[in-house]
């Protein structure tokens, strides 16, 4: 067979070959106009333990506001630590314990560029977060967020929130990672 993902039209693949697909695009959500939160429902399931959430493109009413990430309707128990630098080399850090959300990134008029690996959101276990974000301007910055949600609730949905800043456009993609 051709080397994946360069398949040949009409090619028949075996289950063993298909099972090597490491990530599966579960859904693509287009962000609306001037919304303060976007909920992506029905993405976490028993099919996968671990997920990648990506939010790219679009614009915002103001740069630099927090992009908060929450699971289901839970608004407590989020822990996180942020480590980053501006492109000028100035430290950009933050941390919170038992707070209302994870910080997933920041808004940017030039377009969002944020992603987060989520571990075990559907399983009855604590959920982990490993996120990255880049503010794509000449005076921008890059941050990494590490955290977890201190409960064993099973979730199927997540929400990205920023307020009073608003979001317009851009794409949220959710991938499941093969166990």
């Amino acid at each position: 067979m051709a080397t994946p993902p360069d398949f040949v039209a009409g090619q028949v693949l075996t289950a063993a070959q298909m099972n090597k697909a490491g990530m599966w695009l579960i859904t693509t959500q287009t962000v609306g106009t001037a919304v303060t939160s976007v909920t992506v429902p029905n993405v976490f399931s028993a099919d996968y333990e671990n997920y990648l959430i990506r939010y790219t493109g679009g614009t915002t009413s103001a740069s630099g506001a927090t992009l908060a990430l929450t699971l289901g309707a839970t608004a407590t128990g989020y822990y996180y630590a942020i480590n980053g630098l501006t492109f000028a080399g100035v430290a950009a850090t933050g941390a919170a314990a038992n707070t209302t959300a994870w910080v997933f990134g920041k808004t940017a008029t030039a377009g969002m560029c944020a992603q987060a690996f989520i571990t075990k959101p559907f399983a009855a276990d604590e959920t982990g977060l490993m996120g990255q974000y880049v503010l794509q301007t000449t005076t921008g910055e890059g941050l990494a967020t590490y955290g977890y949600l201190n409960n064993t609730t099973s979730y199927t949905a997540f929400t990205i929130t920023t307020s009073p800043t608003t979001l317009t456009g851009g794409t949220i993609e959710v991938y499941g990672m093969r166990d």
Binding site: T30, T39, I82, T93, T161, S163
Partner: protein, 38 residues
């Protein structure tokens, strides 16, 4: 704070009072200033 527009799946609509309260609660720790806005 004014009622804000939320999106659930592909549907955009004004937040209900309960949803608005949750948005306000979620964002309160991160506004003025956001802990990552150093």
């Amino acid at each position: 704070m004014a009622t804000e527009l939320i999106q659930v799946g592909d549907v955009e609509r004004p937040a209900t009072p309960a949803e608005q309260a949750q948005i306000d609660a979620i964002m309160a720790p991160f506004n003025n200033p956001a802990p990552s806005d150093k």
